[in-house]
């Protein structure tokens, strides 16, 4: 992680700064421990929009790798863990970090980093200088994923 462009360790916090100006600029993200506790947007995430993104195989892309409690969706992939009950297993901040940049936790993960400008090469012309998903979409998906509970919810489902 150390030395990756755009990322700096400060006092135990990993700070990512949006180094790119213009439309592609990313909002600053602060990793604390293994989470991003603060939402990326001021508007709260919308779980319904989040679900729509999760099952959209051309936008969220999630079902290409993950199964989950989506009875109408056939043929999910199995590269990643099943999303059923993920809201029991991970906090909103932990989910947010996995979406924003799971490679901060595991540099070898196959999971794409959805909210960082990749340092990888040959990005297709249509995809340059922008993250896989915008900040509000990340928040929408986090808001949806925390509703996926196997156990009775201890907090009201949004």
């Amino acid at each position: 992680m150390i030395g990756r462009p755009g990322w700096v360790w400060i006092g135990g916090l990993l700070l990512a700064s949006a180094a790119v100006a213009g439309e592609g600029a990313l909002r600053p993200v602060t990793i604390v421990g293994r989470e991003i506790p603060e939402p990326l947007t001021t508007a709260p995430g919308d779980p319904e929009r989040g679900r729509t993104l999760v099952v959209d195989r051309t936008r969220g892309l999630c079902l290409l790798c993950h199964a989950g409690p989506f009875p109408e969706e056939r043929f999910p992939g199995n590269l990643g863990p099943d999303l059923s009950g993920v809201g029991d297993r991970l906090s909103p901040g932990a989910l947010r970090l996995r979406l924003v940049d799971g490679r901060a936790l595991n540099p070898d993960t196959i999971m794409p980093s959805y909210y960082r400008l990749q340092e990888t090469v040959r990005i297709g012309a249509a995809w340059r200088d922008r993250p896989v998903l915008e900040a509000q979409a990340i928040e929408d998906i986090v808001a949806f994923l925390i509703t996926l509970r196997d156990t009775p919810s201890e907090r009201p489902v949004p």
Binding site: L61, L79, W127
Partner: protein, 260 residues
């Protein structure tokens, strides 16, 4: 990587050893994606009357024996019967081209032959002619094991191909190896991830409703990674194919294969 590739293309500089880069899949565990196909598609490939690739093969057979101009030889004029002259050739391509001192794939060899010996224009990539002739030549190796030519001059192409295979690229930051070395046998959506061995190209893909080259397939994969695909005929594709063939040996050639 690019520097290594440039060195390989120019044939200049130091000659690296002819070592086969280590693959993540041991030879005894290499499997063609034929094994994971449904029985009906397997039957379509096996049955000469049902394999749609045979239409392109017939075109290739005609081109093999047809002179491009009255004063120029047909392929058969120099090489004779394809069944004997071309047997085993595709199983060891890409190889080294003395004239350009660079690696060359089978399509490139056919087009080079047209320019140098037939006084003809090269065929366009993915044209019916180039696919047909390439498939006809490659089919003469069907059933023969893919071999790894011990030619030290191919060393830089091999290492450049491996570097391309393992390099993250595109907006999604994936690499070929991430799926085909590490996760073959799992599913990406509905699709079974194969080990990624180019045993049957050019092959008929039901999704394409036609025959296509290994470069077409690699371009599809790169687009899926949201990467900018290399151009048809790019030296990167030749290097990648050399590495993939090393990585696939000794699986048997299957041209013309059929895939979903």
């Amino acid at each position: 990587m690019l520097a290594a590739l440039a060195t390989g293309s120019a044939g200049a500089g130091e000659i690296p050893p002819a070592e086969i880069p280590p693959s993540e899949i041991p030879p005894a565990e290499r499997r063609s994606s034929f094994d994971g196909m449904s029985p009906d598609i397997q039957a379509m490939q096996r049955d000469a009357d049902a394999n749609p690739g045979l239409l392109w093969l017939q075109d290739g057979a005609d081109l093999w024996s047809t002179a491009p101009a009255p004063d120029r030889p047909a392929c058969a004029g120099c090489h004779g019967e394809a069944a004997t002259a071309m047997r085993g050739v595709a199983a060891r391509y890409p190889t080294w081209d003395e004239a350009t001192a660079a690696p060359i794939d089978l399509q490139g060899r056919i087009n080079a032959c047209r320019r140098r010996h037939q006084g003809a224009e090269p065929y366009a990539y993915e044209s019916r002619e180039l696919l047909g002739l390439t498939a006809y030549v490659a089919a003469q190796s069907a059933g023969l094991p893919i071999t790894t030519p011990a030619d030290a001059r191919l060393g830089s192409a091999r290492s450049a191909g491996r570097a391309l295979f393992t390099r993250r690229m595109g907006q999604l930051g994936l690499s070929c190896a991430a799926c085909h070395d590490g996760n073959h046998g799992r599913r990406l959506g509905a699709a079974l991830i194969p080990q990624g061995h180019p045993t049957g190209y050019p092959l008929y893909r039901l999704e394409w409703q036609g025959l296509g080259s290994v470069q077409r397939r690699l371009r599809n994969c790169m687009t899926g990674m949201r990467a900018e695909p290399f151009a048809y005929g790019a030296p990167e594709f030749v290097a990648l194919e050399r590495y993939l063939m090393d990585r696939a040996a000794p699986l048997p050639m299957e041209t013309p294969a059929v895939r979903p």
